[in-house]
Symmetry: C2
Subunit: 197 residues, 2 copies
């Protein structure tokens, strides 16, 4: 029991199972994690795991789907749809940080997929779609006159959302900087930069 001290429910739901699996994938890397490792970490037999899913790749797909669904849901929120593009962009930035913090292990896993399997390539495709939607928003904000037009909108998007994604590398739910402060600082930097005026 010693190294499986993470709360192990008496009866596993698929969601409980995924929580443990994602922790293993993030610690060890997806490729290096075997079904044996997952059985050990969950305290289940391999056949109990196969009762829930067809295998390791389906677990990955379920996990990255959860992260993708949460991120795409942000794009459908009223704040992402109504109003000026730069306000919508700010909304998406803030809410992406929220989702990242709320679904930290799942988003971390999504950001680390490499593309070695079909599930990973599917996730990379979804990330591309998300990037394309954001680039479109930046382009629109340029047209509306709120974003400087001397920079490549796709490059702005990559860098600004690279800043969002980098939060997954160090964010701690009860750490020094609460999620609200991270989102506020990120929005200030993205729109106004660190220069004192």
């Amino acid at each position: 029991m010693a190294d499986t001290a993470r709360a192990r429910p008496a009866r596993y739901t698929l969601e409980d199972l995924l929580d443990v699996v994602v922790h293993e994938f993030n610690t060890r890397g997806y490729d290096a994690t075997s079904m044996e490792d997952l059985a050990r970490a969950t305290g289940l037999t391999k056949s109990s795991i196969y009762h829930h899913v067809t295998g390791k790749e389906e677990l990955l797909r379920l996990a990255v789907s959860r992260a993708c669904d949460a991120l795409f849901a942000v794009l459908d929120e009223p704040g992402s749809v109504d109003g000026y593009a730069s306000d919508r962009l700010e909304h998406v930035l803030r809410r992406s940080v929220d989702v990242l913090a709320a679904e930290l292990p799942y988003v971390t896993l999504l950001l680390r997929v490499r593309g070695n399997t079909a599930a990973e390539r599917w996730a990379l495709g979804r990330r591309k779609e998300f990037d394309a939607a954001l680039t479109e928003l930046v382009r629109l904000a340029m047209e509306e006159g709120d974003v400087r037009v001397d920079l490549d909108p796709a490059l702005i998007t990559r860098l600004v959302f690279g800043m969002v994604n980098s939060v997954a590398e160090w964010f701690k739910p009860r750490g020094r900087n609460p999620v609200q402060e991270v989102a506020d600082t990120l929005v200030v930097l993205a729109f106004d930069g660190m220069h004192r005026r």
Copy 2:
């Protein structure tokens, strides 16, 4: 031979070996790469590899050292040492992007280490030192009045250098955005943000 079409030199130097090894680590993940995988990828026998190094972990350490050394060298350049802190910060930002592009696979590997082995923990420690030096520079730029003082300097550093690090995820040496454009855009965003003024 089919999947080892990467140029394989007639005689391996340690540097040639590292290039192939780092490619394998990045593709498969360090934990999932075995000495057998490395033998296959390099076309060497395991004992020839052991002629160069004591094992997989030493290869990792050599590879991440190369990235760390290149990044730390930036901190000693005249542009990082002389003048106002905000100019020094800009210099470090630009040159970090240069190093990232020049040593792309090595920096990518450095950014992906997890801390499962002594070599990885050593690399994480070096990254922390680098971050601390940058935070100090941001703090100094605040004192000199060039950087806004309403934000946490450590958080600014993490976000801005998170933006730098994110470049490793997508940068292609002959891609759409040349390294100079990436560095220029990054500096504009970090200091002035994307708002049109």
